[in-house]
Symmetry: C2
Subunit: 236 residues, 2 copies
């Protein structure tokens, strides 16, 4: 993907990395990635020394990273007993959805108010990729693009606080062991249609409709959470 960049830009990047990225920061991001992509499963214990060895750093930075992740709600720290990847009960997941649904409605309104040409292009690109993934029934890429689409919407509201609040909730939701909701081509096609409808409402500057569609979309997700859970009442 990366094309040739002028040397100054590369240097500026390297400079920025050295300037802002400290060991605790990198460690935190790395652990967060491993949690969100499932390398580390909810409930799994995290040992300071082991992680420090794996990442080639001392325990200090790892401990600092833990504090950040705890505040982010991604891990659970119990004094003298170690830390685990946080497990999310279906009740907690449902409670998060309740907040998320409200935020989606706000996002729909604000992103429409704030939409730019650049934003339209970004969303179009994501939708195109989603179409390809849906066509090929590639579940994992589709799921990633789905997350990217909604995250992009939150960002394009132009309200970083809203974006951050939204991200926080979504990242915690990923702790809930997700039975593959979108597993067949039909559900992906349906999902794609919904995302296109949302895009259309935004492009038409119809904030009320975008808001409504996004809220409904999130409510569907919440309903799928219930449906996937209630029948199979055996956890694990």
């Amino acid at each position: 993907m990366r094309r040739h960049y002028p040397i100054e830009m590369i240097l500026r990047d390297a400079f920025t990395v050295l300037r802002t990225r400290s060991l605790p920061n990198l460690v935190q991001e790395q652990i967060e990635r491993m949690i969100l992509d499932g390398t580390l499963s909810p409930g799994e214990p995290l040992r300071e020394a082991a992680l420090a060895n794996t990442l080639g750093v001392s325990r200090g930075p790892v401990r600092e990273a833990f504090r950040g992740l705890e505040e982010k709600g991604l891990i659970r720290v119990e004094k003298n007993c170690g830390v685990q990847v946080r497990t999310l009960s279906h009740i907690e997941a449902d409670q998060i959805y309740e907040v998320r649904i409200t935020l989606e409605a706000l996002i729909g309104r604000k992103v429409t108010e704030n939409m730019t040409r650049q934003g339209i292009n970004e969303l179009t690109a994501i939708l195109d990729d989603m179409a390809i993934a849906a066509e090929d029934s590639n579940v994992h890429p589709y799921t990633s693009l789905n997350l990217a689409y909604h995250d992009t919407l939150a960002r394009l509201t132009g309200n970083p606080q809203l974006h951050e609040t939204y991200r926080r909730l979504v990242s915690q939701l990923s702790l809930f062991r997700r039975r593959a909701y979108l597993h067949d081509m039909q559900s992906m096609a349906l999902s794609l249609r919904e995302h296109r409808a949302i895009f259309q409402a935004i492009a038409d500057a119809d904030g009320a409709r975008a808001s409504e569609l996004l809220r409904d979309h999130a409510e569907d997700s919440r309903r799928r959470l219930h449906d996937a859970l209630l029948p199979s009442d055996v956890p694990d």
Copy 2:
């Protein structure tokens, strides 16, 4: 305020403290308190060594506390340049208000659905204290009670995620140097009436009205933020 408690309860408390509170935790809470009550002002630099000395601990726990506070959005950490209490621009404060207003509406609806006898009592007690503070024109106690009232509403929704999300935003808002909004007896009296109206709607199980009143109440705050800011355009 504290009354006599049975010895078992005290012991259990002490046990709980030792069990769950680690040094980094206590340090973080202490610094957070100092930030929220204004002992540490926005923009003020925080020196690891100095804080460690003051609190009688080593720099390690202080650094860990910093990570947590950074994730909470209360401080700003710049590599090799130290950490400051975060400053909130009026733009950021406004953006936070936008999210908060939406959450207040949700809180109004949920707290009404979820209200209990115990909750009614808690709110009544706070309102009574507010009335006394307003009567005496005691600004500081009134402000605290105001915060407590809204925080209690968020808690009584029975949705900890909603409560936590709300708290996060409110605590960041306290970073915005607050020109004393409620300075005279009239505005306190008005505020008290609004809080009583919200309570009444909840007690009447009128969720829609509680939601509307809370949203309006937050929108008023946001408007006061603008009004207090635009005339005096000179920052500091």
